[in-house]
């Protein structure tokens, strides 16, 4: 029987491994951390597993559940294994599932001093989970789902969130989540943090409108970038804006035998969606192993502004808009409309999905033809 190597033991990689084992395939998962489970392992709040495991649980529980299931299924789970290039791997199929991270302050080119007290949500949640209370006043940069998760973590850490900033004119999360976590926190819209002040500890931030907010911590949230090093080093074509490898609807990349799933290909969806990616990729991996089936070309989904990028996830096509837009989102294939949404307001940083079963075509038209996503205003 053939061998599959999966790189990354997060929700996407583990789910793919479990699904492949169910189909009798020998699977090795290489995970660089000492424990598998991916990012959810470090996120003690509830909000995981709804779509794939049909139960809402905390990150560590969700991760532990996946690891247990993988072990039970007979997945060869190797932790503490960093892959530096896929060329050295001997496998009949490779699945890249290396995830995505939030852009840190430096990658956002925020000027000013470089004091202690500047975090991404991920770094903050890990620090608080391991080391406890921090205290002080915090400014949260960004107003998407994860930003409000940061507000919650800050509260657990004994911090007072004094401002949330967003470059748009409203937040981009569920009103209920914003209300529940941050109804007393001023939301600075159409504003960006452009400078950090404080030589040793953060003292204040300066916003794009010139105003200054005194604070002790700054948390940069969202603004995801895939961990695409292996994909880039393998010369896989990339989506320019998402910085994710281009994949087909079955997560095949340009390189036969190499698949890519999870937040690596759609920065970022929730963990359960990454879990669905893992389930969706399994039959395609099997088709490759047994029939050698691979698309002739893997073409990126074309997008037109204000659509920022479009890729695939376990449910279908997932896309993002770059700005708040009113209109109908439309998917065309060689000029023919395949799907069109109702009139609506679409928010940046929010996952917008076109489900597979909602698209008109039934067979795979993707091999050499072009899909286009745009907004009809």
């Amino acid at each position: 029987m053939s061998d599959v190597t999966i790189i990354g033991g997060g929700p996407a990689g583990l789910s793919a491994a479990i699904e492949l084992r169910r189909r009798g395939v020998r699977v090795t998962v290489l995970e660089r951390e000492l424990q598998a489970g991916g990012i959810p392992r470090q996120l003690p709040h509830p909000g995981f597993g709804m779509r794939d495991r049909h139960r809402l649980t905390t990150g560590p529980r969700y991760a532990a559940g996946l690891v247990r299931a993988a072990e039970r299924a007979g997945v060869d789970l190797r932790t503490g294994e960093t892959v530096t290039s896929i060329d050295a791997l001997h496998a009949d199929a490779i699945v890249l599932a290396t995830g995505a991270r939030e852009r840190p302050r430096s990658a956002r080119l925020v000027a000013g001093d470089r004091p202690a007290g500047v975090f991404t949500t991920g770094a903050l949640q890990r620090f608080v989970a391991q080391h406890g209370r921090i205290g002080g006043r915090a400014v949260v940069v960004g107003a998407e789902h994860v930003s409000y998760s940061a507000v919650l973590t800050l509260r657990h850490a004994g911090c007072h969130t004094v401002a949330i900033t967003t470059t748009f004119d409203r937040h981009q999360t569920y009103p209920a989540l914003a209300w529940a976590t941050a109804r007393r926190v001023p939301l600075h819209t159409n504003a960006n943090v452009v400078e950090i002040i404080g030589r040793t500890r953060v003292e204040a931030v300066v916003l794009s409108d010139g105003s200054r907010i005194e604070c002790d911590l700054v948390v940069f949230t969202g603004d995801w970038v895939p961990d695409h090093e292996l994909a880039r080093r393998a010369d896989l074509p990339m989506l320019a804006v998402a910085k994710a490898p281009v994949v087909s609807d079955d997560f095949q990349t340009e390189r036969p035998g190499v698949f890519a799933i999870g937040n690596l290909v759609h920065p970022a969806e929730t963990a359960d969606v990454c879990g669905l990616d893992g389930r969706h990729v399994a039959p395609a991996v099997l088709d490759w192993l047994t029939l050698g089936r691979w698309p002739i070309t893997v073409t990126p989904i074309e997008v037109r502004a204000p659509v920022a990028w479009a890729s695939y996830d376990g449910r279908g096509i997932t896309l993002r808009v770059a700005d708040i837009v009113h209109g109908r989102i439309r998917l065309t294939h060689s000029g023919e409309v395949q799907w069109i949404s109702d009139q609506g307001t679409w928010l940046p940083n929010r996952s917008i999905t076109i489900r597979r079963d909602a698209m008109k075509f039934t067979s795979r038209p993707f091999d050499d033809q072009r899909l286009l996503v745009d907004v009809l205003r």
């Binding site: 840190p104 080119l109 000027a111 991920g122 770094a123 620090f127 391991q130 950090i196 970038v225 880039r232």
Partner: protein, 461 residues
């Protein structure tokens, strides 16, 4: 009152560290005094990390002589000490007719500086050598012997070497007052600690002018010239083969694009004269200017992710040359105004300090070589075999730093004091995620190693 030293070196930047190392090779009692918690944490940590041949120095200047000598000494010393060096070479790129016309003069200047390998290229040859350059190149000059070096390990290696040979290190010792007596001098720190020494070497960098005045002399004033830099992701490294230099002006060497020994690509520095010796922040104007320059030089660079942004302050003065002097009456040597080449010149400045001390009345005999101990750090460069490749447990994934390296960085003769110190000793936290994955773990390891809390290490206490 502390006990008596022969020489106190004030400032543990790359220059003071090199001086201390050189002095420790002699029969002398040496102390190295540093106001910060750590060595090499001033200008020496924030530069473009080029080991210059000195091809473009002003012929006949002290700087030209010491850069050429320092280049020789440090190139020879680095491999044995675990300081990563790469011979990438450099290419000056001309972007208009006037700049191209300057190149022959620069080649002649290089020759006057004793550097004979500079070679002028036409625009096509420049494009062939560096296919990712932006449009509009008019010519270039190859300088094949320019090196890139690990700027973090250099001062550390010197300090380790000095300590191994008997030098004492006092950190958090900010020399505040100076009392020159008949045959010794007392240096007192802001916290009241003091040392008595026969001779004093001023290697206080940006604060060298202040110490010089306290020693009773005058003659130069430091006006910081800030240089902002952007470090790009390692995935940008294939975009260039060598350091890409602009045609220099009298004010600055200009904005360059250079590979680093850690495998990144650096864009910078700017050059702004400012008044605040602590203003090592970056500015929106500076970053915008760098992006504009970078877009012209290497357009594809701007599509890559930014890993780090920082700024360093050059100890510029009203003079263009180094301000070196010796004062027999005060038993004092000053190494001032070491502006933009101090990393390269450091070891030559060490030698020069010994000469100047002798001129100021210090007699010192070299210790026999077999008595001297040498230190070898774990090399941090991408070209070196790194500990993770021998199978350690990786904690920092972006830079592939192992647990043992982090623990080691927090102990030993010159332990790190904060995350930045761990970064300079190991590269941990210096990578593309800037702590998203490993900051909490690094803090935990550091805290376990030295007894302070993770919050102390994160600077949050």
């Amino acid at each position: 009152m502390d006990h008596q030293f022969d020489v106190a070196v004030v400032g543990a930047g790359v220059v003071g560290a090199a001086v201390a190392r050189e002095l420790a090779r002699h029969h002398l009692r040496v102390v190295l005094l540093e106001s910060r918690h750590d060595v090499g944490a001033g200008t020496s940590k924030a530069n473009t990390a080029i080991l210059h041949t000195g091809f473009d120095a002003t012929p006949g200047s002290v700087e030209a002589r010491l850069v050429a000598r320092g280049y020789e000494l440090l190139s020879a010393y680095a491999p044995g000490a675990g300081i990563s060096v790469e011979t990438t070479g450099a290419m000056l790129v001309a972007w208009d007719a006037e700049q191209a016309a300057t190149l022959p003069k620069l080649r002649d200047k290089a020759a006057a500086n004793g550097y004979a390998h500079a070679e002028i290229l036409d625009a096509d040859a420049v494009g062939d050598a560096e296919p990712h350059l932006g449009p509009g190149v008019t010519g270039g000059m190859m300088v094949p012997d320019e090196h890139i070096i690990d700027p973090w390990s250099t001062p550390l290696a010197f300090v380790h070497d000095a300590i191994a040979n008997g030098c004492e290190l006092r950190t958090s010792f900010s020399v505040d007052s100076v009392q020159i007596e008949a045959d010794s001098t007392v240096l007192t720190a802001t916290d009241g600690r003091s040392v008595r020494t026969r001779f004093v070497v001023n290697a206080a960098g940006l604060h060298g002018d202040e110490l010089h005045r306290r020693m009773g002399f005058d003659g130069f004033t430091v006006r910081p010239r800030r240089g902002e830099l952007i470090v790009y992701d390692k995935l940008a490294r294939p975009l260039l083969q060598r350091t890409l230099l602009p045609v220099p002006t009298s004010h600055t060497k200009g904005v360059l694009v250079a590979p680093t020994v850690f495998g990144n690509v650096m864009l910078g520095p700017t050059a702004d004269d400012i008044d605040d010796k602590g203003a090592t922040g970056s500015t929106n104007a500076g970053l915008d200017a760098l992006l504009a320059k970078g877009h012209r030089i290497l357009p594809a660079l701007l599509d890559e992710e930014v890993t780090a942004v920082y700024a360093g302050l050059r100890a510029a003065t009203e003079h263009s040359d180094y301000q070196l002097s010796h004062h027999a009456d005060a038993r004092y040597v000053c190494l001032g105004g070491i502006r933009s080449t101090g990393l390269t010149a450091s070891m030559a400045l060490g030698e020069e300090a010994v000469r100047l001390l002798a001129a100021a009345g210090l007699t010192a005999a070299l210790r026999p070589t077999d008595e001297l101990r040498r230190v070898h750090l774990t090399a941090l460069g991408e070209q070196a075999v790194r500990p993770y490749q021998r199978g350690g447990t990786i904690v920092c994934h972006c830079e592939r730093v192992t647990r043992d390296e982090i623990v080691d960085a927090c102990s030993g003769a010159v332990p790190a004091h904060d995350l930045d110190g761990i970064r300079r000793r190991t590269r941990a936290l210096a990578g593309r995620c800037q702590g998203f994955y490993c900051m909490a773990d690094v803090c935990a390891l550091a805290a376990a190693a030295d007894g302070r809390t993770p919050h102390d290490w994160a600077g949050l206490a």
